[in-house]
Symmetry: C2
Subunit: 170 residues, 2 copies
């Protein structure tokens, strides 16, 4: 790792259930997970709706809030004990300013992220509850069994009961 980068990232630890980002604050740090699982969620009608989960070797922040430095609806919490590194948005901007190849890399990797989003939209629109669950298992093959049923159900946009029944058969 470049010294310029390593100089700016610091380790951090979250206990199970600990809040990583409150939606009432602006997302100013980006976390790189080393161990554990973080969940990005929002509140709808008093219920927590999981937007996505992030595991080892992934960067996590509240994208819109982080990039535009304003509040958004997303909370982030740790669904198990998690070890991560973090970098401040200011330091990241410094790196982008001084290392154009980093900016380029960030822009290119957006293509992949777009692809994931579009795939997910398709998965949500045209598949049965069971197919959604199978797709979820594929996408999160390394961590899906560590995520509580209720959180998975809200991620899939189905009820807990339906997910429980899907798991029961087969």
């Amino acid at each position: 790792m470049k010294p310029e980068l390593s100089k700016r990232i610091k380790p951090i630890v979250f206990q199970k259930g600990e809040l990583v980002l409150d939606a009432n604050n602006i997302s100013k740090k980006s976390y790189f997970i080393n161990k554990g699982i973080l969940r990005t969620y929002f509140i709808k009608d008093g219920k927590e709706i999981s937007e996505y989960f992030s595991g080892i070797d992934e960067w996590v922040n509240s994208p819109k809030s982080f990039m535009q430095r304003k509040k958004d609806i997303y909370y982030i919490d740790a669904i198990e004990y998690t070890e991560a590194y973090f970098i401040n948005v200011n330091d990241l901007v410094y790196l982008f300013d001084n290392y154009p190849e980093m900016e380029r890399y960030a822009r290119l990797s957006m293509g992949t992220v777009f692809g994931h989003f579009m795939e997910r939209i398709t998965s949500i629109r045209f598949t049965s509850a069971k197919e959604k669950y199978i797709h979820f298992q594929k996408i999160y093959s390394k961590i899906y069994h560590r995520i509580p049923l209720g959180m998975v159900a809200s991620y899939l946009g189905i009820t807990q009961e339906t997910l429980s029944r899907i798991r029961a058969k087969k």
Copy 2:
């Protein structure tokens, strides 16, 4: 407009129904719409599924294909007579290389695009067919009435019959 930019963009016209991008080719041009509507869609089980629509003042390409220079599943066509400008991916990269503020602008505006994607995912997951249609009308307030019912239905992930009934009442 910067001369460096205007020198690299050219006007183009598409007739109603004309194919703008074939999924068998790589998306090498990005179009900026001046008049008309382009539709991005893919084929599933022999049927055309609309992914989104783009109107005046919007840039259109097949994101993953364009950014990573490889094939993706998306076709683009004109659902009405359309006037646009286009820029080649090579020219865009040239501009990004030589005008860092353009690269920065592109990166920042990704935040907005992310926001739209996440909003759409929420809209799909937790709303009834009727609410989806209302949301669609809001998102596409300037052009929704010019898009054929069947295309809207596939965009929303509901059947034509259901959409027709939703429109009938109220």
